[in-house]
Symmetry: C4
Subunit: 285 residues, 4 copies
């Protein structure tokens, strides 16, 4: 529901500050973030801030020494976060029917609950409730990753930064070409791994034990990381590896060139108002 | 033979569904891949899919634990693949005379059999038949590489992806400049290896035992991989290595700059002529 | 005070070669560096040269063998440098009131003393005087870093190099976008570190002991440095690491593309308007 | 002396096929390489080929096993190369007076002998003659480097490759900016090394023993080579190193962006003949 319609609705029935109009307002706050709506913006900032604090807490907590100092603090913050995120999740489920695509009361809510962002939101709080259902504790650790993935909500902040927005727009505009570059990289990876596996397997049966093992080596070489945990020792393997490393240079050149051209095009499109040589009027875009 | 001519031929003699017209159709399916020809496109997809499955099988098979689980599965799939690839190879040899450049029955087929792609196709199935000819088993491993090289047929799929096609076109358009960059890299490699060999040989007679050994080090340093299996320890060697590593930065800059300029030129050339929104006439540039 | 006003002032009262006009001249020499003012330029060169010699001395001095050879030399040079830098600092404090923004005798000088460059200047000489105040010697080492930071004064030299000036201008013009790229890099760093921490912590509890430890690994991997002191050993960790290393390629692509576009725009903007060789009129673009 | 003048001179006195005109022709062959002069081009190719063979011989010879197989071959080739290079050097000295800048018989020849290329040529053959003068054998090894440096003569071949020529021209056109980038890199190197030296020296007094030692680490980190022979272990050192490694990304971005812009400008200048909007005539360049 558009903010205009909502305002109009509320104006026409000022007495009906009913549950329905509250739901509309809640949806407005949660889903949109209009530049003029200070409550919505404030809520966004609060949730993003809490997510960031959660991530910081998770990072700091993982250091045993720090956690042992103030375990109560971390536990209390965890409780508070789960409470807020759970409430936010329930409110989102409740108010989602305001959006035209999830309008139907039950089916719409179910469809919303299975949208990627909603699943991540659910997974982020689920591990807290699982013990009450008697689920094994080891699975928890995996679920904390979803807490980190909620960081994606930070993308909303991009709206407030022109530079970040431009970066994301440019990268998005070349999605196809970048995926093609990754595709070429993957083919290169397989070919490189197979070649070096056959060259090195006999000399280093333990390090280059299989092609998947060689693929780890190839990935770390093509990206020029080069940990040094695996490297060829036969002359043939070394010649192949040197050539593969040189092709790795090309893997840096492709995405850089793609993005460079995209940046320039974006700059061009958003900068100069040109004049039509026929009628003399200005043309934008 | 162009599809039009073929269709015309077949139309004019509907009764003559002879061997000749079958050969023409087979050639059509194997060699071309017209957008409208669904059989040809389906065949392409099948062969490329089988090659990909072969590569996956080869990768997975190389892990001893996995192979030992279901050796029969891998052997059966190998048999099936060789059968299909052999048939495909024979059909290609048989039908190649339909192409004007290989028109002569025997000489044409021989010339086709010695074209690079045909050699790779033959090498990919050869190792399977060699044991029957009593050839030593050790040679086999080398030949599996040809199976991987068949992955090049995947390039045909590029036809269906605009982005991938553009990437390959751009890289191809700067072939000369990229080769020149590789040439400069090679000269740099030799000079770097020689300099560091003379600086380090006395201090590390085992690691920097010869200039070819130092070239391995130089390649891994210029590409900024840096495994850490070899590095200079003398002050002179370290100063040289630091300068060489900095030149390595330039080796990334050159191809990236070359491709970046090429991408922009390609973008410029293929820019759709726009229309002035005021007078409707086309504007170029 | 602008040089014009100063010259005018001095001209109007040639007899008053008073302390005030000396202060004006001192401020002129220290703060500005007009192209025509040879004294000011000479002073700049002297101070920058002394800073560079200090840095060289600090580098060479850190080699114990060299320091032990001629300890007196280094100590004498230290004494001389501190004397010059202290005098320079005092003169700057004394003459700063000539600038309109620090015009008030006491408050202005205090505000100047707390400007970043003035603090660095003070910190650079402070460690020499601290022992007289009975401060612990260990703190000294930290303070020498400020001596290195004075190297920033070298930026003044950039004024004399068109190329360096252009580089700094271009980098500055894309400050926002470069910071956005660093922001993306930081998010990537946290996500990568958390994922690999959960994947590797059990297998390598000592190396991947906490998320901050994993962040060190992630930083060294995303920048493709790859020391090899930490690397994943579990299959899941290796797959994640390979994907993270590939994203690291993108981290090189973004700033390069940003700067590439900026260089071209700068080139475009500063392009000299050309003249048509036929009719002599100016052509833009 | 220009080829036209020489030809004219020879034409006017066909009978005088004297020593003087031979010297002119020799100078022509050695110094210039006109596209039409097949003898000069052939001589160029011969010398460059011999230099390349020398480099290959030096590389292969350094492998003890290979040298021990056919020591006589290498020694004979060495003798032949020294003979040719010595003769070439003497002819260059003899004929250099034909060039206007070295016209004076003795002083001109001396000045020519001290030009960089001539010194390299002399140094390349000198080690062979030194034993007859009773000079210590150890010095020899250093001199072989000059043999490698003669590879620079290969640049002459660039004349025959448009792509290579364009690469060198573009890199040359941005010499100033590239040197500025190296200058920034050097300042960064010193600051990084000093910071990490103070952070790590206490924890690793052996590895980070002095600032020059830390500079080796900084160079290998800023260029993202990362051998792994030295790396920080203290939290402060790791934070600094991570930030330095990220700045290292910028060191790749700068030269790439500089060259990218240069390539585009070169493309622009050499491509489109434009029309003057005032008089309508074509403008090139």
């Amino acid at each position: 529901m558009s903010p205009e319609r909502l305002t109009a609705q509320r104006k026409s029935s000022p007495s009906q500050w009913s549950l329905l109009s509250i739901r509309g307002r809640v949806h407005e706050i949660l889903a949109h973030s209009q530049a003029e709506d200070t409550v919505s913006k404030g809520f966004d900032a609060f949730i993003v801030g809490l997510i960031l604090l959660n991530v910081v807490a998770m990072i700091v907590e993982s250091v045993q020494r720090v956690y042992c100092l103030v375990p109560r603090c971390f536990d209390a913050f965890e409780l508070f976060s789960v409470a807020v995120f759970s409430l936010e999740y329930l409110l989102r489920i409740w108010s989602c029917v305001e959006a035209p695509e999830y309008a139907r009361p039950i089916l719409g809510r179910l469809r919303f609950a299975f949208s990627p962002l909603a699943i991540i939101d659910a997974m982020a709080v689920l591990p807290f409730y699982l013990p009450f259902l008697g689920v094994d504790l080891r699975v928890f650790r995996m679920f904390r990753l979803f807490r980190v993935m909620r960081i994606m909500r930070i993308a909303k902040l991009a709206r407030y930064s022109d530079a970040l927005q431009m970066l994301l727009r440019v990268v998005k505009s070349r999605k196809d070409q970048l995926f093609s570059a990754v595709f070429i990289l993957l083919i290169l990876l397989i070919v490189a791994a197979t070649l070096v596996y056959y060259a090195e397997n006999e000399a280093q049966p333990k390090a280059f034990s299989s092609i998947p093992a060689a693929m780890w080596w190839a990935a770390i070489t093509l990206t020029t990381v080069g940990y040094g945990d695996m490297y060829p020792i036969t002359p043939m393997g070394k010649i192949l590896a040197a050539m593969i490393a040189m092709l790795g240079i090309g893997m840096f050149a492709l995405p850089t060139a793609i993005l460079g051209a995209a940046f320039l095009e974006d700059l061009d499109r958003n900068k100069k108002p040109r004049k039509c040589p026929h009628c003399g009027k200005e043309i934008t875009g």
